[in-house]
């Protein structure tokens, strides 16, 4: 086996086994900190040993055994030093042993603990990326433009709170499950969106590392909870969005809007997979949730040969469905964008202007107004709206696009 093959095997093992190793050690030792450190040590040992010894036949089992040994070493060392009552600090898990089933996967416990509502949303994101996705602290700090020490502290505090407040290590009860799953999906969607529309003046406009990580984690949840419609919906939404990633930013680093994208550059395999998931949910005949509707809207867009061939009445109908579920002004804004294609920019502008008191600080509100005003030939007002949008936009590609659009106004 070549050096490159071994490196690939380690990367693959890291992707496939990290969460499993951390989860099973957390279950066994009742301590996230011990589990995280031992897992990291086991992977470091693999990097050292596999090139010389060869990749073991079952990398997962090798890593779990090695990590277990490291954890026991650490606990022995600590017991010798402090003699503290380890038992009292164990993470709480009062579940009786259950039969092995999809829902009993230990990784699910890990995910639900990391995404517990008693933790701040930014903390949930960081903890999930560290414990479940296996990103290093410096990687997470870079992804969210936070100094490394601050990120280190955030994760350390979270682990301490989980232990001190006894945040349970288990899959929530059936009664609490829908709300808790939606909390997990919110974390994954946040990671994806930060990757897709990265903020910050010195950041790449699209952070593929984050979108890829979000998709990988959502695939994992999907594998663990195949019956959940919203999980399938979110995965479909991410795939259909990711499929357009390369077409979305021009060679000069400018945002390319949906209407202007080269549809030949879209990733056909991702679109096919996304469409399959959307069809699967339609066939399920269960009232769709938010992510499923968003995925269906994305499916309509990605089914059209070009922007003119888009079934806009279908898009507006889906937004109507979404508004009933989530009457947020942002959804209303997106609905208005579709209405502009169906009923013209004047009707859409009236709908957008009604949102002013709630969205005046949101850049997309001004982007939409600027575009509608431009189409109505009201250049002066359009220019003012572009100015406001540029002032509020945080994404470099979007700022470049808006500036060009503004400067093209007559």
């Amino acid at each position: 086996m070549s050096v490159a093959d071994v490196a690939d095997a380690i990367t693959q093992a890291h992707h496939e086994e990290w969460a499993r190793v951390v989860a099973s050690l957390t279950r066994r030792f009742g301590d996230l900190d011990v589990a995280e450190e031992a897992a990291a040590e086991a992977f470091a040992t693999a990097v050292e040993r596999w090139p010389a010894d060869g990749v073991p036949p079952s990398p997962g089992a090798w890593l779990t055994t090695t990590a277990n040994r490291k954890a026991i070493d650490r606990i022995r060392r600590e017991n010798k030093r402090g003699g503290k009552h380890k038992e009292a600090q164990l993470l709480h898990d009062d579940d009786p042993p259950e039969p092995i089933g999809a829902i009993d996967d230990e990784r699910l416990r890990l995910i639900f603990t990391c995404c517990h509502p008693a933790l701040a949303i930014q903390t949930r994101v960081a903890l999930t990326l560290r414990m479940v996705a296996g990103l290093t602290v410096p990687e997470i700090a870079r992804a969210f433009l936070v100094p490394q020490t601050a990120m280190e502290q955030r994760i350390t505090r979270a682990k301490a709170k989980i232990k001190a407040a006894r945040i349970p290590y288990r899959v929530p009860s059936a009664e609490d499950l829908p709300a808790r799953v939606s909390g997990v999906l919110a974390v994954l969607f946040l990671v994806f969106n930060e990757g897709y529309l990265a903020t910050g003046p010195d950041t790449d406009p699209v952070r593929h590392d984050l979108t890829a990580e979000a998709i990988r984690l959502t695939r994992l949840i999907r594998a663990l909870m195949p019956e959940d419609g919203e999980v399938a919906g979110l995965l479909a939404l991410m795939l259909l969005t990711e499929a357009r990633r390369t077409a979305r930013v021009s060679a000069s680093g400018e945002l390319v809007t949906l209407g202007e994208q080269d549809r030949g550059a879209w990733d056909a395999a991702l679109i096919a997979e996304g469409h399959r998931l959307v069809r699967e949910r339609l066939a399920a005949g269960v009232a769709p949730g938010r992510y499923q509707i968003l995925a269906a809207i994305s499916a309509v867009h990605t089914s059209a040969r070009d922007v003119h061939a888009t079934d806009w009445s279908q898009v507006v109908a889906l937004y109507d469905q979404l508004v009933r579920l989530d009457p947020s002004p942002i959804i209303a804004l997106n609905r208005a964008i579709a209405v502009a294609e169906l009923d013209g920019p004047e009707v859409a502008l009236a709908a957008v202007d009604r949102l002013e008191h709630r969205l005046a600080g949101y850049h997309a509100y001004h982007v939409t107004r600027a575009d509608l005003l431009r189409r109505l030939g009201r250049s002066q007002q359009s220019r003012a709206a572009y100015d406001k949008a540029i002032e509020l936009a945080g994404n470099t590609a979007e700022t470049a696009y808006l500036t060009r659009r503004r400067d093209q106004l007559k």
Binding site: H92, D94, H116, A118, A164, A165, R166, I167, P168, P172, D176
Partner: protein
């Protein structure tokens, strides 16, 4: 595992009759289900006195240790298996006393 559920309030006034009745019902439930440890309502912060006896002699100061808009109006100490159980109980407590609560574990 024990948790302190602090009742946080930012205006004058004790619990109304309706609130007190709801609190009694909630307390009875805590006792019946084995979560009850202790609970109490407190008089207004203005009635507090701070003592600091770390130095030569005890310093007595009139008023609460922290002047703030929000203050501790009362508390429960509950017994719960984990934070999920404690949060559920605290949510019901908040509804019963019609005030915001904070949940904090004992060490």
């Amino acid at each position: 595992m024990q948790y302190l559920v602090s009742v946080i309030f930012d205006r004058d006034g004790l619990a109304t009759e309706d609130e007190q009745a709801a609190i009694d019902v909630f307390n009875d439930r805590l006792v019946a289900e084995g979560h009850w440890v202790f609970a109490g309502g407190l008089a207004a912060p203005a009635s507090a006195t701070v003592i600091d006896n770390r130095g030569e002699e005890a310093m007595v100061t009139d008023g609460p240790f922290l002047e703030s808009k929000e203050y501790l109006a009362g508390f429960w100490i509950i017994q719960a298996a984990d934070l999920d159980v404690a949060l559920k109980l605290a949510a019901e407590g908040s509804k019963a006393c019609n005030r915001k609560v904070e949940v904090r574990p004992f060490r």
